[in-house]
């Protein structure tokens, strides 16, 4: 005979406005097995919780139903309160009479009756609840950071400085990401590499950080605190230990005309190369697609010239398995491909370039040593047009969102151009100037007022080339939309920031969800911006949405703190709401017949095979067993089990059947 307590919350007016709370308490108080029932203005308030605790002690309650808001809101609160009063927290259930009742129905008897039904259901359920002890799992205090851009670097350093081990995986031969390509950064115009490279070096030298460049994540198994990750270290065709990074091979390589990715195709590199001078690690890799040896079978000049004999033509990819407790995704973004702008001739006309290419032109370490020269003929453009929103806010091109960073970097580009080409005339075609941020608006004003950049509010319709000039056909909407044509020497498109190439595949590999634009999805847009829906996996930087440097860094530090918090305990406590296979006395052992259908549907590989042996060690029966650490409690196995041998705590067949019956028979 159970002794259940029912506590009906008014939630101020939120519930009592449409539900007669006293009545609900009174009626449900008469239910079989209910020892005590009351209603109170704010159950979640301190006095409310005290009331609950007192009642548990006073009436020796062995089950509690709190009829209030959504359990997604306050279940932890009340379960904690119960625990404090000495009642097993899993003997406490909530009836959602606010979100699912008082807020969605008018004030009438039906609504109050529904509230009663909902409470009754839970009362019946609680009768079937079992006292459970939360599960403790060990935490591997090593973090995996995927992506070596500024976000990844920040996150890795923060975690490492908390004293935890970090493994960083970078797809390219060097860390640094897009930030290492930038010239100067808004709004302070400090040199990007000057502030970035020290941190890159720190990564390489930090005792707590292991760096895998030219590597990709192959697979991720396990769960929060206990992930197993396979990393594919792509063959660099050199021995990293023997190589001193003298760079002789790169200067001697006969194959020199390969478009340089780092320079966004504005420069060339050899087949054995270091992406850029400040690269970390500063050791070359061989690009096998373009290496004469791998194509024709002869050459080997690099091997001949290498003073330390570090070239390894037959080196193969290596798979490294690592155990980590948390994962930070910092894979960054990409810019929209050229084939989205046929009307702008982007990809067709040499002198129509994108923002990142302009960064390289403006960068002191770039292909032009920081002089603004147009790609086609190396002339200094006297008239230059910047086109904002190239792809962004353009549903016709499939991108409805605002890329956020373009307004600022376009203003910066115009300013840099003016600083380098004093007699030049920059135009900016824009729709709106979105300069929210510390010192941002001031920066834009400076570009316009002090540097005399012509801002024209209108979108460019088309661009065509004619004897060395690019005719830009735009309109000035502030003048009633009158068309204007500008004969420019060079055009820079602020192409939209999009999810990085391969983001979708990675999301599926690490089991995180992503949005319609393939940016990784945060767990909550406001309150969990750096968490994902998968426990133990966090987001940093522009892989979640276009972000500028300060935002990326902030997000990275945020993610790092989440990791540090997770690592602050040796054991991780988890709800015991997991599946379990029933056991019975020999000779049956269990109603499980060992069909292992459950194994085939389990998304977490949580079903293990357990062999029952007799004294002579012969196997009598093979049963399924649930690994409590791996099981996430989805219950798919339960629904599937033919013999109902497997069940799930908190949502057991008994409980749900009881709920259904209680709901329908009043």
């Amino acid at each position: 005979m159970s002794r259940i307590g029912v506590f009906v919350c008014h939630c101020g007016e939120n519930i009592s406005a449409t539900v007669d709370c006293e009545k609900v308490a009174r009626i449900t108080g008469e239910l079989k097995g209910v020892e005590f029932a009351t209603d109170y203005k704010y159950m979640c308030s301190d006095p409310g919780q005290t009331l609950l605790k007192e009642a548990i002690k006073e009436h020796k309650l062995d089950g509690v139903v709190v009829a209030a808001c959504s359990p997604r809101m306050h279940e932890p609160t009340f379960r904690k309160a119960c625990a404090e009063a000495g009642l097993n927290p899993f003997l406490c259930e909530m009836s959602n009479i606010r979100e699912h009742c008082s807020w969605v129905h008018p004030k009438d008897d039906l609504t109050t009756e529904k509230a009663q039904d909902l409470v009754r259901v839970m009362v019946e359920k609680v009768k079937k609840n079992k006292a459970l002890n939360s599960i403790k799992v060990p935490v591997t205090k090593t973090a995996l950071v995927i992506g070596g851009g500024i976000a990844g670097i920040q996150a890795a350093l923060d975690i490492a400085n908390c004293g935890h081990k970090v493994i960083m995986v970078e797809k390219l031969p060097s860390i640094g990401g897009h930030m290492s390509q930038l010239s100067e950064t808004f709004p302070t115009l400090d040199c990007s590499q000057c502030i970035l490279t020290p941190r890159m070096v720190e990564i390489a030298q930090h005792p707590n950080i292991t760096l895998h460049t030219f590597s990709e994540v192959e697979s991720v198994d396990g769960f929060i605190g206990n992930f197993t990750v396979n990393i594919r270290k792509k063959s660099k065709s050199i021995d990293e230990h023997d190589c001193t990074g003298c760079g002789l091979c790169t200067t001697k390589c006969p194959q020199k005309k390969i478009p340089n990715e780092f320079e966004r195709g504005l420069g060339f590199r050899p087949a054995i190369y270091v992406p850029f001078p400040q690269a970390v690690p500063n050791k070359p890799v061989i690009d096998r697609e373009n290496c004469t040896y791998y194509i024709k079978g002869k050459c080997k000049v690099c091997e001949i010239v290498c003073p330390t004999k570090a070239i390894r033509f037959d080196q193969e990819d290596e798979i490294v398995e690592v155990a980590v407790g948390a994962i930070v995704l910092a894979t960054g973004f990409d810019v929209l491909k050229s084939d989205y702008f046929p009307e702008y001739g982007y990809g067709k006309y040499k002198d129509v370039i994108d923002g990142l290419q302009f960064e390289r032109l403006a960068s002191a370490s770039g292909p032009t040593q920081g002089e603004i020269r147009r790609p086609s003929d190396g002339q200094i453009p006297k008239k230059i047009v910047f086109v904002a929103c190239a792809g962004s806010r353009d549903p016709a091109k499939g991108i409805e969102y605002c890329s956020k960073i373009c307004c600022m970097y376009t203003a910066k580009h115009a300013m840099l151009y003016k600083h380098k080409v004093h007699d030049g005339t920059p135009y900016v075609f824009y729709m709106d100037i979105r300069a929210g941020g510390k010192m941002y608006e001031e920066f834009v004003r400076r570009t316009i007022v002090e540097d005399g950049t012509h801002y024209v509010r209108g979108r460019v319709s088309t661009i065509y080339e004619k004897n060395g000039k690019l005719t830009v056909k735009g309109a000035d909407t502030l003048m009633g939309g009158i068309p204007i044509e500008i004969e420019a020497d060079m055009v820079v498109l602020a192409t939209a920031g999009v999810a990085n190439h391969g983001a979708e595949e990675l999301a599926q590999t690490v089991h995180v969800s992503y949005d319609a634009y393939k940016f990784f999805a945060e767990a909550h847009p406001k309150l969990k911006p750096v968490e994902t829906n998968t426990a133990g996996i966090f987001l940093a930087g522009a892989c979640q949405a276009p972000k500028d440097i300060p935002e990326s860094v902030a997000a990275a530090s945020g993610a790092a703190v989440k990791v540090a918090a997770l690592f602050s305990n040796d054991l991780l406590t988890r709800d015991p709401l997991v599946a379990v296979v029933n056991r019975q006395a020999p000779p049956v052992y269990s109603s499980c017949v060992g069909c292992f259908l459950c194994q085939s549907v389990c998304p977490y590989q949580a079903i293990e095979r357990e062999e029952i042996k007799n004294r002579n060690g012969e196997i009598i029966k093979t049963l399924a067993r649930v690994n409590e650490g791996l099981c996430q409690g989805c219950g798919t196995c339960v629904a599937l089990c033919r013999t109902k041998a497997i069940d799930i705590h908190g949502y057991s067949s008994q409980q749900v059947y009881t709920e259904v019956m209680a709901l329908l028979n009043d």
């Binding site: 959504s70 359990p71 997604r72 809101m73 959602n96 606010r98 979100e99 699912h100 009742c101 807020w103 969605v104 129905h105 008018p106 039906l110 609504t111 529904k114 039904d117 909902l118 259901v121 089991h511 969800s513 829906n533 709401l577 549907v601 998304p603 977490y604 996430q632 409690g633 989805c634 219950g635 798919t636 339960v638 629904a639 599937l640 799930i648 908190g650 949502y651 067949s653 008994q654 749900v656 059947y657 709920e659 259904v660 019956m661 709901l663 329908l664 028979n665």
Partner: protein
């Protein structure tokens, strides 16, 4: 006699539809009180014998709702639910129960409006159907045979 108020049970997953219904509440969108929600960790957990149980006990209609495909909190649960539903539907047809008494839908945690629509449409539809007498008769017989099997 007053208008027929159908009894409808909603079997929803905790992560999407339950949260979606919460959102319906927080956005104060009104819907019919005939529907009562039972929370499951995932639609994958829903053993369709439970639906039969609901019909036995006088449910006039049933809603099963979870995360959109690919959005399942447990990555694949809702797919299993969908497959099971396809099989189960034929079973119902075979048993001679109007499958339209069961509404299968995807409602995400962000679709407060959609949940209200799903509920109201289902209630409307079930009202047109009228009480689920036909099944109750069958139920009586099945009740005896099944009681033991499914219930403890």
């Amino acid at each position: 006699m007053q208008e027929f108020e159908p009894k409808i049970v909603a079997f929803v997953c905790n992560w999407c539809t339950y949260a979606g219904a919460d959102l319906t509440g927080t956005s104060r969108i009104k819907y019919s009180a005939n529907v009562k929600i039972i929370r499951f960790p995932c639609t994958g957990r829903i053993d369709f014998m439970i639906l039969m149980k609901a019909f036995e006990n006088g449910a006039d209609g049933i809603i099963v709702s979870g995360c959109h495909p690919n959005d399942c909190h447990y990555s694949t649960g809702n797919f299993h639910a969908r497959r099971r539903w396809i099989v189960f539907r034929n079973l119902l047809n075979f048993a001679g129960i109007e499958t339209d008494r069961i509404q299968f839908s995807w409602v995400s945690a962000a679709e407060g409006f959609k949940w209200a629509d799903v509920v109201n449409n289902t209630v409307k539809k079930i009202k047109e159907f009228g009480p689920n007498e036909s099944y109750k008769q069958i139920a009586v017989s099945t009740l005896f045979n099944e009681e033991g099997a499914t219930h403890e």
